[in-house]
Amino acid sequence: MNQALATGVAPRNPVIDLERVNVTFGGEKNKTVALAETSLRIEKGEFVALVGPSGCGKSTILKLVAGTLSPSEGHIFVTGREIGANEVRIGMAFQNPTLLPWLNIRDNVMMPLKIVPPFKHGYAKKKKGEYRERAEALLAKVGLSGFGEKFPWQLSGGMQQRASLCRALIHDPTLLLLDEPFGALDQFTREELWEIMQNLWIEKKPTVLLVTHDLKEAAYLASRICVMQARPGRIIEDSTVPFARPRTIDVSFEPDFVSLTQRLRERIVAVRAVKEQQP
């Protein structure tokens, strides 16, 4: 809190504030610097994409913000308070859907309501009515109406991923952390889910941190793109995405869009090339 004030850049209160964070793994011998001197501020309601080659520390940043990983050095503030001390509601989704195989889709989606405070108190009573409708409504938005009673293994990978997104959103999170959630899907499903994701974001305006290695995905969805490099992992470029919303897939063929993704791509490739020349 004090540090955030001391740097005192703006009266605005960022939802996420990483200050000169270092993360190292391993001991003396095989030390990996996953993140070096990384600072990142994300304002409320922003949709930020982290892009970069694999191993550059994208997931590490996500885990730091989620509070499941502690930094070796530096500070992380979420809604102005040091991590862990806040009441921010977080939703998470990953590349694999991680649904619970013994619950049907609807119960999988309702799982966070069983655990997150304002919802959990009425869970036993409202499970049958209010919460069930809530889950069904959300499932309908991602194109899964009528699948609530099915079990995960009866659904395709793309459908499971939709359900996983619903589980991340059911408890109205103010912060959404997505780690390559569309990474394992085919192109068409992916584009369809981009649109759904955008609509959900426009509707509720949560703060989103999306990890991806797909520049087109980043440019389509995000309001800001942070490009990262590997070894040591750090953010090397931070650019805003100006295109008006709601964006359609046609936007991705417009010259501005193409030149943005081209520029970011070249940036990443250039850094990698330099890396490879150094032993």
Partner: protein, 258 residues
């Protein structure tokens, strides 16, 4: 459905056939029932002496079930502890491995010394026999929870108990039932060992007495009862398993059942 029925009929025929072959070989070579009684002789003994055998069988069932129950209770608790705590794993695992390497016959005299001959040492032996596979499987099941799922639960600020209840335990169920089927048969072994060494009741004791009086058909009748009990328990647990953990086999008929 049809190939399924055929498979069952075929396997039943094969099992029956092996008994018929046993019978035939004994008849053909004129094997004395002092050496190897025919299955029909064993069954005849079983039926004709049923009133005398029944109390022993009941004693064995009772002892085994109580021992198995205790084994499940202790095994699940210990498995949960070992599966969720690194320290408990490091401490308890070597001890468990060491303990389970001891032949259980060796501990019966100690148990008799402590509790006297009779039911108690038999129950404890059954329990000791069946605890190890349960502990190992429960611990493995708990440890196999995906790290990402645990991350989800932690960001939702779930307590350890909530994680255990909502994810850990359901995930462990298939492992638990797999171990239960082994544990049930091991519990029978434990009971019979203890009854043979130090008891005046139970199938183990019955077989001891029968063999010392060279009543070999009665010994085999005892074996048949034990095998029958073992199979029954196995079937019961398999049925429960299919109900509870049908999701793990992902079959279509699980969905139509429930």
């Amino acid at each position: 459905m049809k190939p399924d029925t055929r498979r069952r009929v075929l396997s039943a025929c094969c099992i029956l056939g092996s008994f018929v072959a046993w019978e035939a070989i004994c008849l053909a070579f004129g094997v004395s029932d002092m050496v190897l009684p025919r299955p029909t002789q064993a069954v005849y003994t079983l039926v004709s002496q049923f009133p005398a055998i029944w109390p022993h069988a009941f004693q064995t069932i009772y002892t085994t079930l109580v021992g198995l129950g205790l084994g499940i209770l202790i095994g699940v608790l210990l498995g949960m502890l070992i599966g969720s705590s690194r320290l408990a794993y490091d401490v308890a695992y070597p001890m468990l491995v060491g303990f389970s390497s001891i032949p259980k016959v060796a501990i019966v005299p100690i148990l008799v010394l402590w509790f006297g001959a009779g039911t108690v040492p038999a129950i404890l032996t059954a329990m000791v026999m069946c605890v190890f596979p349960i502990v190992v499987n429960v611990a493995t099941g708990l440890a196999s929870t995906e790290p990402e799922l645990q991350d989800v639960m932690r960001t939702l600020k779930a307590t350890k108990l909530e994680i255990l209840w909502n994810i850990g335990l359901p995930r462990t169920m298939p492992y638990f039932f797999a171990s239960l089927k082994v544990a049930a048969t091991l519990a029978f072994v434990g009971t019979v060992i203890a009854e043979t060494v130090a008891s005046n009741r139970g199938i183990g004791n019955l077989m001891m007495i029968a063999s010392s009086s060279f009543d070999v058909p009665l010994v085999f009748a005892g074996l048949f009862i034990l095998a029958g009990l073992g199979v029954t328990l196995y079937i019961v647990f398999s049925a429960i398993e299919a109900r509870v953990t049908g999701w793990a086999v992902r079959s279509d008929d699980f969905v139509s059942n429930g």
